[in-house]
Amino acid sequence: MKLLIKGGRVIDPENRMDEVLDLLVEGDKISKAEKNIKCPADKIIDAADKIVIPGLVDLHAHLREPGREDKETVLSATRAALKGGVTTILAMPNTSPAMDSPENVALLQEIIRRDAQTNVLICGAITMARQGRELTDIAGLKKAGVRAVSDDGSAVDNEQLFFEALKKAKEEKVLVTCHCEDRLLSNKGVVNLGFTSTRLGLRGISRESEYKRIERDICLAEKAKASIHIAHVSCKESVEIIAIAKKRGVHLTCEACPHHFSLSEEDVLDYDANKKMNPPLRGKEDVEAIRQGLKDGIIDAIASDHAPHTENEKDIEFERAEFGVIGLETMLAVSITELVSGGILNWPNLVRRMSLGPAKILGLDKGTLGAGCVADIAVVDPEKEWTVEKGGFVSKSRNSAFLGRKLKGVVEYTIHNGIIAYPFDNGICR
Amino acid sequence: MKEKARVLDNQAMSRSLSRIAHEILEHNRGTDNLAIVGIRSRGAYLAQRLAEGIKKIDGKEIPVGILDITLYRDDLTLLAAQPVVRKTEISFDITDKNIILVDDVLYTGRTIRCALSELIDFGRPKTIQLAVLVDRGHRELPIRADYVGKNIPTSQNETVEVRLEETDGRDEVAIVEK
């Protein structure tokens, strides 16, 4: 099987490539990227005026399977990913049961083998049932295939325990992803603490609850000489702390989510629970700091924090509604609209934050279009506009913070392992 | 809105009110137990003028009240045209009184119906008599005026505009085409 992608602007920062080229895919690999490839192919994609980038790598998604298949499944999430140009996902462990044992990981591996439409890597739990009391068997989890560990959704409050986890993870060479939240400081809050929380009469989540915990985790990582990855950075102080730590040489990476660089606390003044997530939408200065952090490279990756919930869990009183928004299908378009069109990132840097950077964080040989690489590719129309609508999602859930928003950038094709996996009805089904 | 005819000027209006004052006194045999209640907004001013007219003739002060019938209307939506609900001000007991209810124009009779309902909630007058400056016909309810300044036959697509010194800066009545 030969696939020829003709005349697109091919962007591959790993190989310092940004020019109009043809890309030839043979089998599951990219065989060459050159001008005017003349070669018979089974399928030719005309990519004139399109942008050809490595498939996105999302470091943070909740697939909900096993346990909450009414919200999302491996199948539905990976189909949503393909629509968003995402070809690799790191699945968070807060499933039911949690990914806290090699057996549970094996169970999920089985589902992934059966249903996944993209690469799905598993993030194991740090503590049993993510309760923060007893460490999981990190070595065993690693053997079962996990790439990273995290108690995402909760933080590990016990310092000693977390320190142990860092040392163990270092030995096993698995990534530690930190959900940084001091729950004593976040005080059961539901929106950003400040004028907005007071105005709405809601409990606020302080910025301290995030950045104080980031400080602690960095400090522990330094002591353990381990590397950590900070999930969903949302406020200005966090970016500053991370910048200083990086300068000091701490092995540290971090991610930010599209909603945190495109929406602010003022967007939640209508009590729309589709804008309720943790960490919450912050102030305008924070949004600016996240954008600047992405520009400066202090923030290494853009991750979706895709968190599907049913309408029953969202169309209720704001305080009772679940935290989290879906993001796989909008992460690229929001990033194009806000960051590329907004002059924050050029295309190569966007690829660094969404494909190459996250692939490196996970130690994957992905996020590039070099000859010999696995053909995970997205072909994007960068100018095409669309409106986010409830009825348009492939995900099982519709809790998007961007409903009604006009976005720029549409994924025309997603190629995974050399096969056109999206659009779904392309006639070359696997 | 085109003005078709000026049917009363200030002198004619003054003569009409003066005549009505005489008629009220004649019919009620003086001012005993007499009180006047005007319907907001122009009826209230006319009520005041009638009371002054009566005082000129008979030398007696009679009580004057103001009725705001907004809350007695049977059509909430029509109220949107009304700027603000104003107070009803009747500071005397109306029971056993002869009440002269005053409005500027008598048309369908619905306003008077509302006014009667409201008045009756304030007590039990001996009689209620109706005085209007203009009767333009087209009644939708069995209501008639006891004292009329001027009968003006009109068509449904005309309106009668009563302008008063207190509200409009001059006294006159005109027929206007809708």
């Binding site: 709405l200 009469g201 | 107070k87 909630d121 304030f122």
Partner: protein, 310 residues
């Protein structure tokens, strides 16, 4: 100025003109309550549903009296007896009430934003009778009405609100409303009861009640609920009364004719002394009377706008 909103959700959302219209309308309605027959047919044939998820006798009764004086039919639903406990969602409950062909839904809810949510999902009028810590617009309107009635104006007045500002919807609505009408508002409480960013709503902050009262024309004393939240920082009752309680001694140092208001029910000896509650400056019972006029005006105006939108 005509009223066009089918709902009343909070004073934050209203213009100065809209607030003044409600106050003017309420003035006319106050006269109705002084008649022998305290009833006008304005809302005859309309149905008002009081949906209360929090126990509240006085607000519920006030709305009920207001609706009845307008000749509306009133149905009271309290959370203990409704299907709330059976897990029906608020929106479903609202839609059921709408299906009963009710015209106005008056809602009291312990969650902030509940009234906003219902208003968005329903075509009938929604009147917020207090939602969480968010707003209690009719209470603030009656407070402002009383101030205006007693002092003749709002513009330029200095009003102190003392008590648990953090958890008070009454404080929030008062701050919005008074600010829009040109009054100066100072909130006064121990630091732990002052919510973040309140100054951006237009309130000055004071931690010293004696200083705050110095130039005040009125003090609005909030009800203190010491049983409220064990998990949160809260002052001790005795300490609070010593530092912030409104006593005759304290008022002696304030303006001579300072008005004392309270949204009720009052806790004698907890946030204010009995002497003050029953004293010459207290307008607490007049607030209750005015509450009816204000709620009549709100029901009348929202019903009228709701009718327009049908």
């Amino acid at each position: 100025m005509t009223w066009t909103r089918k709902d009343l959700l909070g004073l934050e959302y209203l213009s100065r003109e809209e607030i003044n219209l409600i106050l003017e309308t309420a003035e006319s309605f106050k006269e109705v309550s002084s008649r022998d027959i305290k009833k006008v047919p304005a809302l005859r044939g309309k149905t008002v549903v009081n949906l209360f998820y929090e126990p509240s006798t006085r607000t519920r009764v006030s709305f009920e009296v207001a609706a009845k004086r307008l000749s509306a039919d009133v149905i009271n639903i309290a959370s203990e007896t409704s299907s709330v406990r059976k897990g029906e969602t608020l929106i479903d409950t609202g839609k059921n009430i709408e299906a009963l062909k009710a015209d106005i839904l008056v809602i009291r809810h312990n969650y902030s934003g509940a009234a906003n949510m219902l208003a968005e999902h329903l075509n009938i009028s929604v009147v917020n009778a207090g939602d969480g810590w968010h707003e209690h617009p009719t209470q603030a309107l009656l407070d402002i009405f009383t101030l205006k009635e007693k002092l003749g104006r709002i513009e330029g007045l200095e009003v102190v609100i003392v008590g648990d500002i953090s958890h008070s919807r009454v404080a929030r609505s008062n701050i919005w409303g008074l600010n829009k009408l040109g009054a100066k508002v100072t909130v006064c409480a121990p630091k732990m009861l002052i919510p973040a960013g309140i100054e951006r709503m237009g309130a000055r902050i004071s931690y010293n009640i004696d200083q705050a009262l110095e130039n005040a024309d009125a003090v609005n004393v909030l009800r203190m609920q010491f049983e409220r939240d064990n998990e949160e920082a809260f002052p001790k009752q005795l300490e609070y009364f010593k530092d912030f309680g409104i006593t005759r001694e304290r008022l002696k140092r304030a303006k001579k004719n300072i008005l004392v208001m309270h949204p009720g029910p009052i806790n004698r000896g907890i946030e204010l002394s009995s002497e003050v509650a029953d004293g010459p400056g207290s307008v607490i019972l007049e607030q209750v009377t005015n509450g009816i006029a204000v709620r009549m005006a709100v029901l009348f105006l929202t019903a009228q706008a709701g009718e327009e939108k049908k």
